[in-house]
């Protein structure tokens, strides 16, 4: 199967292509040098933009907490549904869409790869079963490892290599892709109803600290040669003054970075960029964070932008979610997972007129604009925590247009408006920078060699947007930009046209990517290990792993570790 996309303005930042008019050819799911023009299926992309398929580094779309979010919110789905068609399955939205709908909605926006960021290892089968039912996308998922007892125990004893071997085992066992750390130490404490409040607090009963967990797993990450860095949701998330914790977290691995390579990813950074001492005095800490990130090369961020809408918050951060429940009075789900992690869910509405919410909205955009290097900060909403992913086009418009920002600024809480740094920020991002922050940079940070670019050999995942960069000034025509990104003219997945102008033409499965981490001395499953297993968990060792038959389309990458 050959495809030729002709005459588009190509944005391929990884290969340095900035809006040049080029043809893109694909054969059997890969980008190739050229194809036989007379035989290939042709797409006339003249007057349109061609980008690699979108990549989302952090969106909660599958697994136990997401599904409980769906269950918790019938009111979220009643008005937002999709009918069955001869090509597609039916489903419901809005902030926690059902699996098929999730896949279709991403595909309509030209996205082809997504990362599901919080998987409790014990419930990993659930995550993978849902990923199987999430079509149109290649996907991967991060096991939650920051509060896993094995990690806490080995790190306490300073046994980094031993810890690395277990993490390797866990990565392969759960078919995971990166080390996820959420409120390190705090989740274990939450198991007994407590929390930690700084990176140097002791984790009750375990004699270790958040700092040691982050540093330890950062070293483990390096020893294992994992393609992504540790992926960190900081302590004190969602609390006034927490930008200091975020800075502490970045600083604590400064010395572990090698060269210019990033060593830590701080996720949904907006939620940990609050200055001020309480909810009344809260303001943006974006300037301080951006300053640090601009001066250091070991950090990447994603924004966690807030959208003014009704959504469902869900994180593995049990104590944070409980706090949000107390604050909002909204219904609350808590789900702690033995030996590993916790999680919580609270529906939430971000209001323009709320001082705090408006500050959050502004902070997210400030981060994106004040961090100078787009390869260091990526666009997310921490879906659905800041808002549903379907609003990405709106964020792109804010990124690209002062005018778009001003229009919203006028409508927000006046006190928040007066404190916002946005009016003093002239920066308007280019399409090239958007391509970095929504695909190339994300693929780069994830170490996805075949994604996020259009060079020969890359996966033929391509988005064509109906917008002419030569004739459209995004600064003025931000609505046109938004509409173009809402429904890609063409979304191509694995060399096949799967969506066109918002219509799904083909239901394709998409693969689940995972790491087969090979260490020189893998841990041995002795009787002793099985006994320990039985002590820690309530399931047998044999029933714990996600066997490969759980992945309908399995796409492992073999990683050779240094231990």
């Amino acid at each position: 199967m050959e495809l030729l996309i002709k005459n588009g303005f190509v944005y391929d930042p990884i290969n340095g292509v900035n809006g040049e008019k080029m043809d893109i050819a694909t054969r059997d799911g890969k980008i190739v040098e050229n194809v036989n023009e007379s035989k290939a299926l042709k797409i006339d992309a003249s007057g349109m933009m061609v980008m690699p398929g979108g990549v989302d580094i952090h969106c909660h779309i599958a697994g136990s907490e997401v599904n409980t979010g769906r269950l918790l919110r019938p009111e979220d789905h009643f008005r937002d549904f999709e009918r069955k068609t001869p090509k597609t399955r039916s489903g419901v939205g809005y902030s926690v869409p059902s699996t098929f709908t999730t896949g279709y909605r991403y595909a309509r926006m030209g996205y082809t790869t997504i990362m599901n960021p919080s998987m409790p290892p014990l419930e990993a089968k659930h995550t993978h079963e849902e990923l199987n039912d999430t079509p149109m996308l290649d996907k991967a998922t991060y096991p939650l490892l920051g509060d896993w007892w094995f990690v806490l125990e080995y790190l306490k004893d300073g046994k980094i290599e031993e810890c690395a071997r277990y993490v390797a085992w866990m990565m392969t066992t759960t078919k995971g892709y990166a080390i996820k750390i959420v409120n390190p130490g705090g989740l274990e404490a939450w198991g007994s109803g407590r929390n930690v409040s700084s990176i140097d607090d002791q984790v009750p009963y375990f004699g270790t600290t958040s700092r040691e967990i982050i540093r330890g797993l950062c070293k483990v990450n390096k020893l294992l040669n994992l393609p992504h860095t540790i992926h960190v949701h900081t302590n004190n998330l969602g609390k006034p003054g927490n930008y200091l914790t975020a800075l502490d977290t970045m600083k604590c691995v400064e010395d572990l970075a090698s060269g210019d390579k990033p060593a830590i990813h701080i996720t949904h950074c907006q939620f940990c960029a609050f200055k001020g001492s309480d909810w009344r005095t809260i303001k943006s800490g974006a300037e301080e964070i951006a300053k640090y990130v601009n001066n250091h090369s070991h950090v990447t961020l994603d924004t966690g932008q807030v959208i003014f809408t009704d959504t469902t918050t869900m994180t593995a951060d049990g104590p944070f979610q409980y706090g949000l429940h107390e604050l909002s009075g909204n219904k609350w789900v808590n789900h702690d997972v033995e030996t590993e992690t916790s999680s919580g869910i609270v529906p939430f509405r971000y209001r323009r007129k709320s001082y705090v919410h408006a500050i959050q909205w502004s902070t997210g955009l400030e981060l994106a604009l004040l961090v100078r290097d787009p390869w260091k900060i990526f666009m997310t909403t921490d879906h659905p925590n800041g808002g549903p992913f379907i609003y990405y086009p709106r964020i792109i418009a804010w990124f690209m247009s002062r005018k778009a920002r001003e229009t919203t600024l006028k409508k927000i809480n006046p006190r928040a408006e007066s404190r916002s740094l946005l009016p003093s920020t002239d920066r308007e991002l280019s399409f090239y920078e958007i391509a970095i922050m929504t695909r190339a940079g994300q693929a780069n940070a994830l170490g996805l060699k075949d994604k996020g670019h259009l060079g020969t050999g890359a996966d033929a995942d391509i988005a064509v947007y109906n917008i002419n960069p030569e004739t459209t000034d995004p600064s003025k025509k931000y609505r046109t930009v938004r509409r173009a990104f809402e429904n890609a003219a063409y979304t191509i997945k694995g060399g096949k046209i799967v969506a066109k102008n918002g219509e799904i033409l083909r239901h394709v499965k998409g693969a689940t990517m995972w790491l087969d981490v090979q260490v020189s001395e893998p841990i041995k499953i002795t009787e002793e290990m099985k006994r320990r297993f039985r002590e820690y968990w309530t399931v047998e060792y044999e029933n714990y792993p996600v066997t490969e038959n759980y992945l309908e389309v399995s796409h492992p990458t073999t990683i050779k570790a240094d231990v």
Binding site: N67, L72, S90, G91, S98, E535, Y536, V539, N543
Partner: protein, 492 residues
């Protein structure tokens, strides 16, 4: 004489496909393709594994012809089932709690394809719990958290000793956790003591009275010493003194249908409000206060609730109150709550329904997208309104346990049953397709009551020609699609 070598294998870590505890440490001995020994399981587990093949098994597909069920080929039965579903305007697809998630997944696709109503057995057990959770939320956890941390275990309207026999031993009061020891030893002494006490009492009665004492002893009038013991405590709250109640540190006998009052009294007490009456729901306020205090002072409490609460008077209100009680308790300490799910995979059915449709049960596809309105789109209501035109039942026996009027409507219309057993419903059916026992003769996935997914193993072969639910459903689905294509062509 020939010498036949007996082939014996042992399969470890088998998941028990009986109740929502989903114990996964069962060890089976297989001899010549038959299970001959079950280790680690409870009596319910043993009987399922040892006798799955003996009683009431259907082995051949059946179709009703001239009023009688006659054997047919699988192809014919599948075709007939597909015709029934494709022709019906508003079919029902019901069951799903005793099969694998994989089968349910196909079932949902089939329901969507035929524009029917799909529902699972939650509708007749923990449906109210789900509705309450959608209103209030739920503070919960996996069972291991309870084993490691809970120092207070409460069972309300649930008798695990009989319905989930290994629940207490594996996950709660008698299990050994990192931060909490098993309370097993204490109970042994207690049981011995109580047996001795009973013996002495009955001896005394025989010798001195030869009649029953006129006033029955009131065990709940005195606070048991266990209340002040160190470590884990077990409380049972129920309308009658069950087996579980007998081993509890404290048993609180609530008057029938008064659970709501008792729950509200607890809610008041933990908010430090005074209660102005002497007793609530038959329980003296003094004891209530004592137990409320225990709840507040514990380090980690868990409230398990069963159908005693969800199906007694006030259903929804009861669960609302229980969920709220536990939520409120989190202002004072760590407290969680969990429904005791009965069927081994009812949690899994809810889970798959939810990820594909957004809703856990009672999903109506008749408009081409998932609609959910329990009370309207639940099968029992559809049946009571007499609206359905055909039914497919998978691994369930609604004729035996639905309201009579609902069951009547069910059997009035074409009825397809997929089941390993010749159930009451199967006997009334128009098409019966025998299926393999999932978890014994077919593999798959099930979700424990705390939503931990566990693999179900295939340990022996099903009888010849008998397929797993998943496969049967796939064949029906593909046959339905063929028929619909044909109907389209004919219409054109």
């Amino acid at each position: 004489m020939g010498y036949v070598k007996r082939k014996m294998t042992i399969v470890k870590a088998v998941t028990c496909p009986v109740c929502g505890s989903l114990c996964d440490d069962i060890e089976l001995t297989i001899e010549n393709g038959r299970i001959v020994k079950v280790k680690n399981g409870c009596a319910m587990c043993e009987s399922k594994f040892l006798s799955h093949n003996s009683e009431h098994r259907v082995l051949k597909p059946l179709i009703r012809k001239n009023g009688k069920l006659v054997e047919v080929s699988l192809e014919e039965a599948v075709k007939r089932a597909a015709e029934i579903l494709a022709e019906a305007n508003y079919p029902i697809l019901y069951g799903w709690s005793s099969t694998s998630c994989e089968a349910t997944r196909v079932g949902l696709e089939l329901a969507e394809e035929v524009g029917g109503v799909i529902d699972n057995t939650a509708v007749v057990c923990h449906g109210p719990s789900i509705l309450s959770i959608q209103d209030i939320g739920i503070s919960s956890c996996t069972l291991g958290q309870i084993r490691h941390r809970a120092d207070l275990v409460v069972y309300w309207g649930s008798n695990p000793w009989s319905a989930h026999p290994r629940h207490i031993e594996r996950y709660t009061a008698f299990s050994e956790g990192r931060f909490q020891r098993s309370a097993w030893k204490g109970y042994l002494t207690k049981i011995k003591a109580s047996i001795a006490k009973k013996k002495i009492e009955s001896a005394l009665r025989r010798v001195f009275f030869r009649r029953k004492p006129s006033v029955p002893p009131q065990p709940r009038m005195e606070l048991p010493p266990a209340m002040f013991k160190e470590g884990r405590k077990l409380i049972v709250i129920d309308v009658r003194k069950t087996k579980s109640a007998e081993i509890a540190d404290y048993f609180m006998q609530v008057e029938p249908n008064k659970d709501y009052e008792l729950l509200q009294a607890f809610r008041a007490l933990i908010r430090d409000q005074e209660i102005d009456v002497d007793e609530v729901a038959g329980v003296p306020v003094g004891y209530l206060e004592e137990v409320a205090d225990l709840m507040i002072r514990c380090g980690f409490g868990i409230l398990f609730f069963g159908v005693g609460l969800t199906m007694s008077k006030g259903k929804l209100r009861n669960i609302d109150a229980a969920l709220s009680l536990v939520r409120d308790l989190n202002m004072r300490t760590k407290f969680v709550i969990m429904p005791m799910r009965g069927h081994f995979n009812v949690a899994g059915a809810n889970t798959v329904f939810t990820w594909q449709t957004g809703y856990p049960y009672a999903v109506d596809f008749s408009l081409g997208y998932p609609r959910y309105n329990p009370g309207e789109t639940s099968v029992t209501d559809v049946l009571l309104r007499g609206e359905s035109e055909a039914s497919l039942i998978v691994a369930s026996d609604p004729v035996a346990n639905f309201p009579r009027k609902a069951a009547e409507h069910l059997v009035k219309n074409p009825l397809i049953v997929i089941d390993p057993h010749m159930s009451v419903t199967a006997q009334m059916a128009d098409v019966v397709i025998p299926s393999a026992f999932v978890g014994i003769e077919a593999s798959g996935t099930a979700y424990r009551m705390d939503h931990v997914p566990l693999p179900l193993k295939k340990v022996v072969d099903p009888p010849k020609g008998v397929l797993p639910d998943e496969e049967i459903l796939r064949r029906i689905l593909s046959e339905v699609r063929k028929l619909k294509r044909k109907m389209l062509v004919e219409a054109a």
